[in-house]
Amino acid sequence: MKLAISILLLTMALGLHSQASFRGGYKSPQDLLLSLKEKFNGISGSSCDSLSDNDRAAMGDQNMQTGEPFADEPGAAFVTVWSTCLNNYSYNLFYSTDTSPELLAKRTQIVREIMAPLLAGVVDEQVLKAMTTVMVPASEAEREAYIAHLMRWVLGTDEEIQAYGRMTDPKQYRQDLMRHVFPPGVSAYAMEGTRQALLILLKRDEFLMYQ
């Protein structure tokens, strides 16, 4: 894990906040879960559809007796809770075996958004099938464009990302992320790499913070 992309989330507490939560600009526990819900709307987050008292503390909720957050910044407990949530959602999106028509429609819609550049021309009925067989594009330019699309889906435009001041060179970041999830010269199905890229991007401070 020597990759620069992996120094994602966590801990560079921004000196501003919109709500209690960890010191700095991290989202409140409610907003963290809502932000995920907004992306995966209609998909179950399993255990991440509500906040247990332990999760609250891990996610920086305030200690009601002191009015201070339980932790100054996201730590190991946060990583555990958050990773579980991301796994729940991404699993329920890509691997769910539930065949209810509403859920299939929701999954189709979200997968189409996420994998749009790879699924052009695929009809709705075929999206969930196609997602498992579509290959990573062979050309580096196409791969990079795809990664750029994923970054935009999760974090927004480069301008939005840079306004957080965390990532100074989105181009370089894209390259690093691309090599990490789609190793050069390896031909593979796109789905798992896509899921990995989402897991990494959804842990970025740009997703976890207000501004």
């Binding site: 409140s28 002191t66 301008e159």
Partner: protein, 505 residues
């Protein structure tokens, strides 16, 4: 993952960011507006709309329209509610409702969804209500929630709580009446000058969160009112033990976990005779006790009888004392104090700007005037804040020294919260210097003297083993982490935000 985390932690002390006077672009503006008002980023569709608007040269107008839409959204009303719950130290919402489709669903809290206070909090943003309503509103939506009524047998629901004022609620002695359970809620309104009711304060949820006892004499409630509405934290009161929920905890732990029943009784007797005579007690209690008296007749349920008391506090060297006929008048009296206005401006500032931008006295005064100009209306004032130049500024990385200084000051603020009200027998005029204003005491020599005193008072030489500060009577203790923070800071010469030593090491 392990080494990674450590890198993260190492970085956390190095990189934080801070304002640089450079404005962000339109996409970043949309993102920031959405994040801060709604709690999540813009949708793909909204980005596309912005693209179109920019092409047509309508970017600014588009952002303005979006701001209005966001402020009218459920998410905003919900966020304001959670902000208020945090401010009041109430348990925040917990359960995400599984509403499918449409906008992302909101949370529902476990116990408190259906009660007058949560409802009022949500209405602040939804109806753009005047912020003063938290203290002076006379209209309520009451809920007969059974769940809330039965928590540990000590809660009362809204119906029981208001029954003495509205006889046909038919509740017995302030507890839930099952006869009324077929009604989902009831809207009630009291006359504009009713001295018995005061917005958020006279609600069941507030009163059961901050319970009173024969010994406590409503001081806890008074302390909350001072903290929330006048930004005067009297640090004494709150045990720093890991908090469990709400009322039960506070009932079990009056002041000090280790006290026996007997000690508490003795202390109660002593303290009543001590109050007003010992200057160190009176420093806080001349504020708490007269305000506490307005709650006297309403230990659990709200009384039909208003109880007189007073708003009393210090403004500079002058004592302000406003006698009031009851809680209702107390709330109104508070809204008339300039301290209230600047305190609320501070809350809004930290919610929408964060601690990144310090609010100068001049800016605070200017924004206080704006707060009044818009009738103190919640969303109207938020819109003013969103138009301040700081809101759209680009960040810059903050230095390690700045972060460290911020941490030290956060800790020393807890000492200050008590000292500001105390008499210091070691000084000529009885005052303390503010430990969060550096150099402490105003000069390098004084700073050196005070860091030595602090070091001794906290027994830093022995890792805080037998400290005299905070005093035993204070209910909180310094954590080992805080001891280490202060110890290394002083050992390094008490560096300020620029990293410059204020004291020779």
């Amino acid at each position: 993952m392990k080494p990674l985390l450590m890198v993260g932690w190492a970085l956390s002390f190095g990189l934080i960011f801070q304002a640089k006077a450079e404005t962000i672009g339109d996409f970043a503006k949309l993102n920031r507006l959405s994040q801060v008002i709604r709690g999540h980023g813009p949708t793909q569709g909204e980005r596309a709309e912005l693209e179109t608007a920019l092409r047509l040269g309508n970017g600014a107008r588009f952002l303005e329209t979006k701001t209005d839409q966001y402020l009218a959204s459920d998410q905003h009303a919900f966020k304001m509610r959670v902000r208020l719950e945090e401010l009041f130290r109430l348990k925040t919402a917990a359960r995400l409702l599984g509403r499918e489709g449409g906008s992302p669903s909101l949370f529902e809290s476990e116990y408190h969804e259906k009660n007058a206070l949560t409802y009022l909090f949500t209405e602040m943003g939804r109806q753009n209500r005047s912020w003063d309503d938290l203290l002076i509103a006379k209209d309520y939506r009451l809920f007969p929630s059974e769940r809330f009524a039965v928590i540990q047998g000590i809660g009362v629901n809204d119906y029981g709580f208001m029954a003495a004022l509205i006889p046909d609620l038919k509740s017995l002695s302030g507890t839930y009446s099952s006869e009324l359970s077929n009604e989902t809620h009831r809207d009630v309104r009291f006359s504009g000058n009713d001295p018995r009711v005061a917005g958020a304060i006279t609600t069941s949820r507030f009163m059961t969160r901050f319970v009173t006892t024969g010994l406590n004499k409503n001081r806890k409630r008074a302390a909350e009112v001072f903290r929330v509405f006048l930004c005067d934290s009297m640090s004494a009161a709150i045990p720093s033990t890991e908090g469990k929920d709400d009322q039960i905890f506070d009932l079990m732990l009056p002041h000090d976990q280790s006290m026996t029943e007997n000690e508490i009784r003795t202390m109660a007797q002593q303290s009543d005779s001590l109050h007003g005579s010992r200057p160190d007690c009176n420093a806080c209690h001349f504020k708490l006790d007269p305000m506490g008296r307005t709650f006297l007749t309403s230990p659990f349920a709200l009384s039909a009888q208003a109880s007189p008391g007073a708003l009393s506090f210090k403004r500079g060297q002058q004592i302000v004392k406003v006698p009031v006929k009851g809680i209702g008048e107390l709330g109104a009296a508070i809204t008339q104090q300039p301290e209230y206005v600047s305190c609320q401006v501070d809350h809004f500032w930290s919610w929408f700007m964060g601690s990144r931008h310090k609010l100068s006295d001049a800016r605070r005064a200017q924004l206080s005037a704006e707060f009044d100009r818009v009738g103190r209306r919640t969303n109207d004032f938020i819109k003013i804040l969103l138009k301040q130049p700081e809101f759209f500024e680009l960040g810059r990385l903050m230095s390690e020294a700045e972060i460290r200084a911020q941490h030290v000051k956060t800790f020393l603020k807890k000492c200050q919260d008590c000292h500001k009200d105390q008499y210091n027998s070691n000084s000529d005029d009885g005052s303390f210097p503010d430990f969060t204003k550096w150099p402490i005491g105003g000069s390098a020599d004084e700073m050196a003297r005070w860091t030595r005193k602090i070091s001794r008072a906290m027994d830093l030489a022995h890792d805080g083993e037998s400290p005299v500060m905070p005093p035993r009577t204070a209910p909180w203790r310094t954590s080992l982490r805080e001891v280490n923070l202060l110890k290394s800071w002083i050992a390094d010469g008490a560096p300020d935000e620029t990293g410059r030593r204020t004291v020779a090491p």
